[in-house]
């Protein structure tokens, strides 16, 4: 960490402010009752932005080492594979073999 503690503290408070704003935004957007796909996309995007702020600043990821980044990117790829391939597998079924109305 190259920044002084005081500088970091200012950034924490700024991030806190941003997180408050984003939380209000995500609740506000939900009252608009968008159709499912854009609602999910927007909701996940805002959540990702909030998570990124927490990770980058509170968890000091912004200044973290490459090894940590590599492990996290690998994890992210595998998570996407898990959810993506599972949904893809269940979305297209041979007729008569599905559970519920896919």
């Amino acid at each position: 960490m190259t920044d002084s503690v005081a500088v970091q503290v200012r950034s924490y408070l700024a991030v806190f402010g941003a997180l408050l704003v984003l939380t209000i935004a995500t609740v506000a957007v939900s009252y608009i009752h968008l159709p499912t796909t854009p609602a999910v996309a927007l909701g996940i995007t805002i959540a990702t932005a909030k998570a990124a702020l927490v990770a980058m600043f509170f968890m000091h990821l912004k200044h973290e080492r490459r090894l940590i980044y590599v492990s996290l990117i690998l994890t992210a790829v595998l998570f996407v594979a898990l959810i993506g391939l599972t949904l893809w597998s269940e979305a297209y079924h041979v007729p008569g073999t599905k559970f519920g109305p896919w």
């Binding site: 503690v5 970091q8 503290v9 924490y12 408070l13 991030v15 806190f16 997180l19 408050l20 939380t23 995500t26 609740v27 957007v29 939900s30 499912t36 609602a39 999910v40 909701g43 996940i44 805002i46 959540a47 909030k50 998570a51 927490v54 990770a55 600043f57 509170f58 968890m59 000091h60 080492r65 090894l67 940590i68 492990s71 996290l72 690998l74 994890t75 992210a76 595998l78 998570f79 898990l82 959810i83 599972t86 949904l87 269940e90 979305a91 599905k98 559970f99 519920g100 109305p101 896919w102």
Partner: protein, 196 residues
């Protein structure tokens, strides 16, 4: 026998052992909650109908909980910053607030749960409630675990500060990483379970 790089940074990796260890553990936690989010996605997409989540659950309470947890994340990192600044009393105050934040979160959560139960809404009622209780329940268990660790670090664990300041500060950073992660999980749970 001293294990190298417990407190000192190993030059070529730039990391201490606990820092690397906790990030690896968090990676596995990402896969754990990720698996549960996958279950949610699969079950919802395969469902004939899905309840209006914001009508079943209380968005205001959850929004409040979101703010509580975010605030406790701020106090957690401030606790660490206080130690970097060399102030144990400031650390105690911020760590105390962090634990308080966790406790408040759980109070709101248990209020939410008992509200559901009193209206005859249980995990066995439908698939959405099953997911809601399981996901938030597992998250709550993680909150409790974090509070236990933080309580130890506020209590008997503080003894380490007397002779090993840097090691103690690093411990708070590591505990903080876990606590922020618990916050991040909630940041995703909130929209997914309450708003969408």
């Amino acid at each position: 026998m001293e294990i190298p790089y417990t407190t000192q940074i190993r030059p070529d990796t730039g990391l201490t052992n606990p820092k690397l260890g906790i990030w690896l553990f968090l990676a596995s936690e990402v896969m754990l909650f990720g698996s549960l989010f996958s279950a949610y996605a699969l079950l919802r997409m395969g469902a004939e109908t899905w309840p209006d989540q914001s009508a079943v659950l209380s968005v205001p309470l959850a929004a409040l909980n979101t703010l509580i947890l975010i605030a406790s994340s701020v106090t957690m990192v401030m606790a660490w910053a206080s130690l970097k600044d060399g102030s144990l009393p400031k650390y105690r105050r911020y760590m105390g607030l962090t634990i308080l934040g966790g406790a408040l979160f759980l109070v709101v959560k248990s209020f939410e749960y008992s509200e559901k139960f009193s209206h005859g809404l249980f995990p066995s009622t439908d698939i959405f409630l099953a997911l809601y209780f399981t996901l938030t329940g597992l998250h709550a268990i993680h909150v409790i675990a974090g509070m236990v660790v933080n309580a130890y670090l506020l209590g008997p664990g503080t003894r380490l500060w007397a002779h090993h300041r840097e090691q103690f500060t690093n411990r708070i950073e590591v505990a903080g990483l876990y606590w922020h992660f618990v916050d991040v999980v909630w940041i995703f749970l909130f929209p997914v379970l309450y708003l969408l």
